[in-house]
């Protein structure tokens, strides 16, 4: 009897937030030993459904069964007790605590007299999980000091540590490089073999084929269909996600940038900052998309932030349109026409407690005031509305709090902010991280359009296909240095990876990794 019941079965599930019906009569099923992908556009309700299952949100209606038994999951702890663990889409770490403390929070092993935490055991247990993941990390390191990618790995290690029967992964690879993704997939396969049921959410379509057994598609809070991965084409799945046939974007009409006579918009020479930026020089021309590739922690984000004035440089020169500029703060950068879209929108991109229009205007309010201080409210609303429509930002109104939008739509707000600001040089740091396929192709179009309008674009991305497809030229970094530069014509995944792993001295690597 119990054999025939699926591990998890969700039926008629509904959940509303003020003003938003996030889930409407949804269903979902997960078998033991299955990797079940959950797909859908931004805001389709994937995270919400999984949060209900993980005890973060309580459902309005519907039923959840485990092994055929109806269960109630009021708190995260209850979910843990039922053998469900989750890797959230957004990082949920305590930055001041060590990796080991993060992983074992709430389950600390007690040592002597049951009074003190057994730090050594905790570290040893953590080390074991790290080893499984091939993760080179000191369990005692403060996670706040880690890069996003390593933090994500710590989250994964934490989820593994529960030895759960159900493991939910909400975009676990968004911040990871290929090697790390391979490690993760290897672990997933191991878990699968042990009968663990895995829910896998991702916007990276190519991952589906590699890892998943079945796919469930959601759209606008509703269940659409569940199909076996092997016998279904990607186009079918995408079609179900967007509810229409999507124009193919595999061969975007790329603006070919061949003319070296185009003005050099930005040139940097000999940038240095601590251990993370070492003698970095490059330039980008008008109308060009310069791809920045590299492994996690290669220093691409640091370079962009330093040029933008968000972090201080130790040395180096920045030239804009042939003029040497001194950038001490982001406000200086914006003045000389440089904009930067951060890779971590929640922390650095959005004022999440403010509404959509305020966020779109954040970088540009000064142009919407009369007499130097009085806001032109009508103009502000009109322009915010224009960008919401143009980028297809899904929001009930421009007065909705940014916090209440899905991740992808939040990213679009940040993009809108910089479009409005109209900078001549734009850094896009992981612009499509966590963005669904439909929106991704729109962002690509947008980048191309911006380049055609004569902007210089630096696109940092960890997705090699994306880098290859979009860039006119590719700079590759490794450990803070520029290790190679490739033209669009000569670039291949292999060549990029070669440069991306071109370490200064192979022996020193183990010691210098953070």
């Amino acid at each position: 009897m119990a054999d025939t019941s699926p591990l998890i079965s969700i039926t008629h599930l509904s959940k509303s937030f003020p003003g938003v019906r996030a889930l409407n009569n949804c269903q979902f099923e997960l078998a033991a030993g299955e990797v079940h992908a959950l797909m859908g556009e931004n805001g389709a309700g994937k995270s919400t459904l999984m949060k209900v299952l993980a005890g973060v949100y309580t459902k309005d209606e519907g039923e959840i069964r485990i092994d055929g038994q109806v269960v109630n999951i009021p708190t995260p702890r209850a979910a843990q007790a039922l053998g469900i663990s989750i890797i959230h889409q957004e990082l949920n770490l305590m930055n001041h605590l060590s990796a080991a403390q993060n992983i074992f929070i709430g389950r600390e092993p007690l040592g002597r007299m049951g009074l003190f935490v057994d730090q050594d055991k905790m570290a040893a247990d953590t080390q074991k999980i790290f080893d499984r993941l091939h993760l080179q990390l000191d369990p005692r390191v403060e996670v706040g000091e880690l890069t996003v990618a390593k933090q994500q790995m710590v989250e994964i290690a934490k989820a593994l540590s529960f030895n759960s029967r159900v493991l939910i992964m909400d975009e676990p690879t968004a911040a990871l490089n290929n090697a790390e993704i391979d490690d993760l997939f290897r672990i997933i396969r191991q878990l699968k073999a042990h009968g663990v049921g895995i829910v896998y959410i991702s916007h990276k379509m190519d991952e589906l084929k590699v890892i998943s057994d079945r796919v469930t598609v959601m759209r606008d809070g509703e269940y659409i269909a569940t199909v076996p991965t092997a016998s279904t084409s990607m186009d079918t799945i995408i079609g179900m996600m967007v509810g229409r046939a999507l124009e193919s974007n595999d061969n975007p009409a790329r603006y070919t940038h061949t003319d070296d006579s185009h003005e050099v918009m930005l040139e940097v020479k000999g940038l240095n900052r601590g251990r993370s930026i070492k003698d970095v020089s490059f330039s980008v021309r008008k109308g060009e998309i310069l791809g920045f590739a590299g492994l996690m922690g290669a220093g691409r984000t640091e370079v962009a932030r330093a040029i933008f004035g968000a972090d201080a440089l130790d040395s180096g020169e920045v030239w804009v349109k042939g003029q040497k500029v001194a950038i001490k703060a982001p406000s200086d950068a914006v003045k000389v026409g440089i904009g930067y879209l951060s890779e971590d929108r929640k922390r650095y991109g959005l004022a999440t407690g403010m509404d959509v229009q305020s966020n779109i205007l954040l970088a540009n309010l000064k142009n919407f005031v009369s007499m130097g201080f009085w806001l032109k409210q009508d103009a502000i609303e009109a322009v915010a509305q224009k960008y919401v429509t143009q980028l297809g930002i899904k929001t009930p109104s421009i007065f909705q709090l940014a916090r209440l939008l899905s991740g992808g739509n939040q990213q679009k707000i940040v993009i809108a902010k910089w479009l409005l600001r109209d900078c001549e040089v734009l850094f896009f740091d992981e612009p499509t991280r966590g963005i669904d396929v439909g929106a991704k192709s729109e962002i690509y179009k947008l980048l191309n359009a911006l380049a055609e309008q004569g902007r210089a674009i630096v696109m940092i991305s960890s997705e090699l296909p994306e880098v290859l497809r979009m860039s006119h030229r590719i700079v590759v970094m490794c450990e803070g240095r520029v290790t190679g530069e490739l033209s669009a014509a000569e670039a291949t995944q292999e060549k990029i990876m070669q440069f991306a792993t071109l370490r200064e001295t192979n022996t020193a690597t183990a010691a210098t990794t953070h």
């Binding site: 968000a310 406000s331 650095y348 004022a351 309010l365 806001l375 902010k417």
Partner: protein, 331 residues
């Protein structure tokens, strides 16, 4: 979905969180007033109501000043002693140096802005947490007031008109049955101007934005430090107005007074629904909060509740008022 009719917009506004919040605070205020009216026949009388208005003026203005910095998720512990410092400076200009009244008034406001500028500088440029920067300023200004005044009150007897600022009634001059003192008028002018600044100007937008996510504002290319300093200076200037009000009311600058006033001001702000974690708040809420505080104090005194019990009850009411607000928001 994007084209709202004016009607819908009004509706949105009326039922928005912040409006419900203000309504609730207002309801608490009315509730308190009903209670005290029932408890004592002396409460609901013109004289007493005017007295309550008058008693709210200083705390109300200080609370408005605080509202700005609290919305940025900052705090200002120095408002009380800063107010006194401004009063002393008015005394220096008018009484010590015998300059005309308008100079004294300007001096109070300018020195307020200057002291606010210093706090802002410490916070924005030197990155000292607001709690500490303004705690230090609180002590610094308190000491300075004593030093400058020679630990003596400075009287304004040579500037007889000075007492009009707070005490006379401009309104009562035209409507004798409404003897609302000028201090209250000034409170409302400060409130209206502050409300406009907060909601209609770029300064207001940045005030909210800084409280919501300062790093995001900085990375949007906004000169965060400068705006922060401006906000603290504005806060200081408004404290200068409070300094004028209290000096005019007491017809003297009392250098030892001021410490402790910051807690009343902050309590008013928070009771009025502005969150200490920043990003949200209204001037109207703050005004209502200040009135709740003074109605409570006045009512308990009128009922002749023993002072120690007044303290106990005020403590409980502050907690309850904020809790009611939280309950309402949860819904």
């Amino acid at each position: 979905m994007s084209d709202l009719t004016p009607m819908q917009r009004l509706k949105n506004k009326l039922f928005s969180q912040s409006t419900r919040q203000k309504l609730l605070a207002f309801a608490s205020l009315v509730g308190l007033m009903v209670f005290f009216s029932a408890a004592s026949p002396n409460f609901l009388q013109t004289d007493n109501l005017v007295g309550i208005l008058q008693a709210t003026a200083v705390n109300g203005v200080l609370a408005i000043a605080c509202t700005f910095v609290i919305i940025t998720s900052g705090i200002d512990l120095s408002v009380g002693t800063l107010m006194t410092f401004c009063a002393v400076m008015a005394g220096v200009f008018m009484t010590y140096w015998g300059l005309p009244m308008y100079v004294g008034v300007l001096a109070a406001i300018l020195f307020g802005a200057l002291a606010g500028w210093v706090s802002g500088f410490l916070i924005a440029k030197l990155k000292i947490p607001p709690f500490i920067a303004t705690l230090g300023m609180m002590m610094l200004l308190k000491g300075l007031s004593l030093v400058i005044s020679g630990t003596k009150p400075i009287y304004f007897n040579d500037t007889p008109n000075f007492s009009y600022i707070s005490q006379e009634s401009f309104i009562g001059y035209f409507f004798p049955s409404l003897p609302i003192p000028n201090a209250v008028l000034i409170l409302f002018v400060v409130a209206v101007v502050s409300s406009l600044i907060l909601n209609k100007t770029i300064l207001g937008s940045y005030t909210f934005a800084l409280g919501s996510n300062e790093e995001a504002v900085r990375l949007s290319g906004v000169n965060v430090d400068r705006w922060k300093i401006i906000i603290y200076s504005l806060n200081g200037a408004i404290c200068g107005v409070a300094g004028l009000l209290i000096a005019s009311r007491l017809n003297s600058a009392q250098p030892a007074l001021g410490q402790g006033y910051e807690l009343d001001a902050i309590a008013a702000v928070v009771i009025g629904g502005t969150s200490l974690s920043g990003g949200a708040g209204t001037i109207l809420g703050t005004i209502i909060g200040a009135f709740i505080m003074s109605v409570l104090t006045n009512g308990l005194r009128i009922m002749s509740v023993a002072q120690e019990w007044q303290t106990v009850i005020t403590g409980i009411i502050i907690i309850l008022a904020v809790y009611a607000d939280i309950l309402r928001r949860r819904k």
